[in-house]
C-alpha cells in the first residue's frame, strides 16, 4: 500500500504578534521575521501515516511518500518527513511557475499522485498554518475523483477502504471511505507528532531528494490554471488587538476574587 503525505512549509506560526511584520508590498509576512517550518497539521498527517504503517506491519507493507510543492528551500520540510522515517520524499518545484494558490497546488499534487500510481491514500493537513485556506485536500480529491473525508484524526484499513475518525461540531464520527481516498487531517491526542531520532535527522540531511518540474508533471504551466476564477490579493492589514489590561491585585486570593467579581459587575457583565 502506498500512502502519500502532502506537506508544506510556512512561517513559524508561534512567532508572537509583537514580532510580526508585513513585507513592503503588504502582500505577505516580511521575510526573515521567523523560521520556516512544516505546517502544523501536516505534522499530524505524517503521524497518522506512521501509525498506520506501524499497525499494518504484520499484514501489508506500507510505503510513505512525502510530497511538497514549493521553491527548492522547501526541501527542508521533506527532510523533516524523512527524519520521521517517511520512505521517500519528492519536491515539486514551483520555480518558474505561476504564483501558488490552492488550485495550482492541488493540480500539481494530483499530477504527482498520478505519476506515483498506484496510490491508495493521500493525506493533507486540514489547512495550512499561514493562510488557513482549508482547500487543497478537497480540491485534490476532486481532481483525482476520489473519496474525501475531512477533519480526520485516525485511520485504519478496512474492507475495500478505510475507517476514518472524523471530528464534527458535536463530537466525532466513524466514516468508511472507499479506496483510494484523500483525508484531511486535524489534531487530537492520538496524533501528536513524534520527535525524530538524532541519527535519522542526520541521515535525512544527506538523503537525495528528487525534484519534479511543472513541465514534467503537467506540460504547459499555463494549463495549470485553466479557466478557474482567481482571487486577487489586495493587501494585508494588521488588526489592532492590544488592550490595556486592568490588573486585579489583592493581599489574598479571596480579595482578588472579590475585586474581579466587582469589576465584572461594574462592567455590567455579571
Amino acid at each position: 500500500m502506498r500512502v502519500v503525505v502532502c506537506v508544506t512549509q510556512i512561517l513559524d506560526p508561534e512567532i508572537p504578534p509583537s514580532e510580526f511584520r508585513l513585507n513592503a508590498e503588504r502582500t505577505a509576512a516580511a521575510e526573515g521575521i521567523g523560521q520556516q517550518v512544516i505546517s502544523i497539521f501536516d505534522e499530524n498527517a505524517l503521524e497518522v501515516a506512521l501509525q498506520l504503517r506501524e499497525r499494518m506491519i504484520e499484514r501489508e507493507q506500507v510505503e510513505i511518500v512525502a510530497l511538497t510543492v514549493g521553491p527548492s528551500s522547501s526541501a527542508d520540510v521533506l527532510r523533516k518527513a524523512l527524519s520521521l522515517r517517511a520512505d521517500r520524499a519528492i519536491l515539486i518545484s514551483s520555480e518558474g511557475g505561476p504564483s501558488l494558490d490552492g488550485f495550482v497546488v492541488a493540480r500539481l499534487l494530483a499530477a504527482a499522485v498520478g505519476k506515483l500510481s498506484p496510490v491508495d491514500l493521500v493525506l493533507c493537513g486540514r489547512e495550512t498554518g499561514d493562510w488557513h485556506g482549508g482547500q487543497v485536500g478537497s480540491f485534490l480529491a476532486e481532481a483525482l475523483g476520489w473519496a474525501c473525508v475531512n477533519f480526520v484524526s485516525r485511520i485504519e484499513v478496512s474492507e475495500g477502504g478505510f475507517l476514518m475518525r472524523r471530528q464534527s461540531d458535536e463530537g466525532w464520527e466513524i466514516v468508511w471511505a472507499m479506496r483510494p481516498a484523500v483525508a484531511t487531517i486535524t489534531n487530537d491526542e492520538a496524533n501528536v507528532p513524534r520527535l525524530p531520532k538524532v541519527r535519522d535527522t542526520m541521515l535525512a540531511a544527506r538523503a537525495p531528494i528528487p525534484v519534479w518540474t511543472i513541465s514534467e508533471l503537467v506540460g504547459d504551466a499555463a494549463e495549470l490554471w485553466g479557466g478557474s476564477g482567481r482571487l486577487r490579493m489586495r493587501e494585508l492589514v494588521i488588526p489592532s488587538t492590544s488592550k490595556a489590561c486592568e490588573w486585579i491585585e489583592g493581599e489574598t486570593v479571596q480579595e482578588k476574587a472579590a475585586r474581579l467579581v466587582r469589576a465584572l459587575q461594574e462592567r455590567r457583565i455579571l
Binding site: Q135, S138, S228, P239, T241, K243, E246
Partner: protein
Amino acid sequence: MRLILVVLPTPEIGRSEREAIGAARALATAFDGEVNVALIGPVAESIAAYRVGASLASEASANARTFLIAHPMLREYAPELYVSALEQLLAAVRPDVVLFPGRTIALEIAPRLAYRLGTAMVTDAIGLRAEDGAVVITKPVYGGKAHAVVVAPRPPVVVCVRPRAFDPIKEGIAEGGIRWIEVTLDPLLRRTRLLERIQEESATDTALEEARIIVSGGRGMGGPEGFQLLGELARWLGGAVGASRAACDAGWVPASWQIGQTGKKVAPDLYIAVGISGASQHVVGISGARCIVAINKDSRAPIFKVADLGIVEEYERVVPALIEEVKRLRGAERA
C-alpha cells in the same frame, strides 16, 4: 446580484445561519440584489426547518426564494452526493455569491463545490462588501496576526462565513416562494458511508458556541483534574467550558472543546482564560468576546495583552475563591 445561502444538515438552524444571512443582507442591499436560501437533505424535508429557512430568506431581501433539495439518497450524509446535488442547484439558480454558514460541515462541501464550478473561494470570511461590481472579502491569516483583503473579480464566488464574525438577523416570519429542485443522483457516486456518530460530553448543559459565559483552560492546568474546578465555576456562572489546543492535544478534555483558529469560534460576553498562554491561534477564536479575563501565574503571558482584566496567580488558589465569590453573588441574587 444574486446570493444564495446553503443550509446543510445541522441539528438546528441557528445562529450560524442567521449570521450568514446578516452578512448576505448587507451585500445584497449594496447591489440591489436578492438573497435566496437553499436547504438540502433532511432539513429540506422538515416543515419546521424549511419554515425557518423561508423566514431567513424573507428577512434578507424582498424578492427572496427558498429552494429545497430532498432526495432519498441525501437522508444519510455523504459529501460527494451533496456536492453533486448542489452543483445541479447552482446550475439552475446561477448565483453570483454562494454563502455557507460557519459550520464544520460547510468546510467539507464548499471547496469541492468551488472546484467543480471553477470559481474562487474563501473560507473564514469576517468581512464581505461590494465594490464596483466585485466582491471584497476579508479573512484572518497567519493565525489572526493579519487580515487579508482579497477581491473576487468576477462571479461566482464561494464564501464560507466565519462563525461569530457577523451580527445575526432576527428570526422573521416565513414568507416568499418555495421551490423544489429536482436532482438526479447516481448511486455509483457514493464513496463514503457514515457508520457511527458520537456526541462528546460537555462540562455543562450550555453549548460552547451559544454560551454567554465561557471558562476555558490551557496547558497551565497541568492535567485533567483542574477542569473539574473550571466546570464548577462555569456551572455557577451559567456558562460552558472550553479549552486551548494544548489541553485537547494532551488528552485532558475532548477535542470538541477546543477554541481557536481550528476549533470553535466564540463570542461570549465573558471569557475567562485560565492557564492559557494566549498563542495567536487561540486568541483569534475569541476575538468576538466582549470581556476577556486572564488568570495566569506568569505575568508575561501574551494572553494579558488581549485581556481586559488580569489576575497573576496560580489557578488552584484563585479559582476556588472565585467559585465561592460567585456562589455568594448568586445566593444574594436569589434572596
